[in-house]
């Protein structure tokens, strides 16, 4: 086949020209594919049913968040954070707000810290529930997403009560949170914790123990720890490879050191291990929420001296939080003006995706779908 007869685009042509062999088939997974949860495109070279090469093509959802950070003031950049990772928006909120607070040395009241912990963990449960449903949907099980969305609906209603929105939250403010939590929210959250404690064993019966699921996940996509480290994987992907690394414990921020929770680690390194980490994390999040509700002090939800206009001193700051997908880092360089000189967002999905090319090599196409799902990618976060 000559180059002129190729009808693919730039990426496909480069990919084909790279290694031309007879009997190989090149297919595109995406950008519009039901198993990629967004506009992720993976070019796959197949030999029969086996993948010989896979290459993710990203950039279909690039929205220049980092550039927007340079031209907007510190306050105006806040709503962008809810759009980077729409599933765990509050962690990104926290990452950005926390870094500016660290730069300007703004004190946060204790009540606000606890409200942040409660809402962020609620959001983490929502995020994992969506992943749980969507992953099983990828594997061909339709029913579980109905159960997970039923539970998520309750959590989202509760978050809507305090944040005013259902998905793209913009709730944290420099020196606190936007609105105080109500008694209805606290009662509702306690009920939600009770509900989740009932539902998680049901999830285990329905799905985790299921023979068909285990066959689709066990010993699929084995990611050795050394490889996960090499690609900079974080979050459940790294913990599923046996490394006990969680930003909430290793670089403690806020009131997490006062809370008692465990970091689930599974060392089978396969897709099932990553699955188990996320399900166990939901349990731990419920534990954190219950403790934080008991410890929630009275007081201000917003620092009285919080500045209306942010003009930080010269310097740079890095602040990391643990998101649903891994380590979220925000690096800000300030030149002393009202806008940052440079703003860098470290997104976990980007690192987690980069290992897919190596992980998918030599697997079946159907297993590649399972591997891609088990990485829990959120495409807007990859492109930013």
């Amino acid at each position: 086949m000559t180059k002129e007869t190729l009808c693919g685009d730039f990426y496909t042509n480069c990919f084909e020209a790279d290694q031309e062999q007879e009997g190989r088939l090149i297919i595109n997974m995406g950008p519009q594919h039901p198993s990629t949860h967004g506009v992720l495109r993976v070019i796959v070279e197949m030999e029969g049913e086996y993948i010989t090469r896979a290459e993710p093509v990203i950039g279909y959802l690039h929205r220049m968040h980092e550039k927007m950070g340079e031209i907007k003031t510190y306050h105006q950049y806040m709503p962008n954070m809810g759009r980077v990772d729409y599933l765990h928006a509050l962690a990104w909120n926290w990452g950005y707000i926390g870094s500016v607070e660290k730069l300007c040395q703004i004190e946060v009241p204790r009540r606000a810290e606890f409200i942040r912990v409660i809402t962020c963990e609620m959001n983490r449960i929502c995020s994992h529930l969506v992943w749980w449903g969507a992953y099983l949907l990828d594997l061909g099980a339709f029913t579980p997403i109905m159960y997970s969305f039923d539970d998520r609906e309750m959590a989202v209603d509760l978050l809507q009560m305090v944040t005013g929105s259902r998905l793209t939250y913009c709730y944290y403010r420099f020196g606190g949170v936007r609105t105080d939590v109500t008694d209805a929210f606290i009662e509702g959250t306690r009920d939600f914790c009770k509900l989740m404690k009932r539902r998680l064993p049901m999830y285990k019966d329905l799905v985790t123990d299921n023979y068909i699921l285990r066959k689709r996940c066990e010993e699929i996509g084995v990611l050795p720890l050394e490889m996960a480290r090499r690609y900079g994987a974080t979050g459940p992907v790294l913990r599923g490879s046996g490394q006990k690394y969680d930003v909430r414990r290793s670089e403690p921020y806020s009131v997490y050191p006062e809370l008692d929770f465990e970091i689930p680690v599974f060392s089978e390194c396969d897709a099932m291990s990553r699955y188990r980490v996320r399900v166990a994390e939901m349990e731990q999040s419920v534990r954190i929420i219950e403790q934080a509700l008991d410890m929630l002090p009275q007081g201000d939800f917003m620092a009285p001296k919080a500045p209306k206009r942010i003009k930080p001193p010269k310097g740079d700051v890095y602040f990391a939080v643990e998101g649903g997908r891994g380590k979220i880092g925000v690096y800000i360089i300030s030149d002393g003006s009202t806008t940052p000189y440079r703003l860098k967002l470290r997104s976990p999905s980007y690192s987690n995706l980069s290992l897919f090319a190596e992980l998918a090599r030599g697997t079946l196409l159907a297993d590649a779908v399972s591997i891609l799902g088990s990485l829990d990618l959120v495409i807007p976060e990859i492109d930013r």
Binding site: Y77, P79, C170, Y211
Partner: protein, 164 residues
């Protein structure tokens, strides 16, 4: 794996499927949690913050408290608010002095297609003249139509006495 092991695994696998089917069976007899959307609507949307609206003033119940400072438009990340000022000359009771110049809010043009509902305008308003509405099902076929004059909306609301 020998034959015995395979038989045991098959039985265990079948048992796990039966347990899963049991869960499905139990839930089949529980009340329905979804609604048929166009025929029925959900009521959990009450706390949702809809688009930005002008609130009836505390000092001026028949209009707005807006002092036309433009803080909302300046703080908006997307520039979706446009404050249109009407400058009036008020007659001064003392005829020797110059007439006073007063500013009034003529129109507050709001472009919902750019708004990300972050609440910067609501928080920064010095007289709390802005708030979030409960008008959550606002949708249009054309992007050009998803704009409104908030002052006109407020007057309409005050005239009819109900939330639009």
């Amino acid at each position: 794996m020998n034959l015995y092991g395979e038989i045991v695994e098959a039985i265990k696998g079948l048992y796990s499927l039966a347990v899963g089917m049991g869960v499905t069976g139990r839930y089949a007899f529980k009340p329905q949690v979804t609604v048929h959307y166009p025929r029925k609507t959900v009521d959990n949307i009450a706390t949702y913050s809809g688009h930005v609206e002008l609130l009836p003033g505390a000092k001026n119940p028949s209009g707005t408290d807006c002092i036309v400072c433009g803080t909302c438009a300046r703080n908006c990340p997307s520039g979706c608010l446009d404050v249109q000022v009407l400058e009036l000359m008020e007659e001064n009771p003392d005829p020797e002095k110059k007439p006073k110049k007063i500013k009034k809010l003529n129109a507050l043009m709001y472009d919902y297609s750019y708004c990300s509902l972050c609440g910067q305008c609501v928080e920064n308003c010095p007289v709390t003249a802005l708030g979030f509405s409960h008008h959550v099902y606002w949708a249009e076929f054309d992007r050009k139509d998803i704009k409104m004059d908030l002052v006109a909306r407020l007057h309409e609301q005050l005239k009819t006495g109900k939330e639009a």
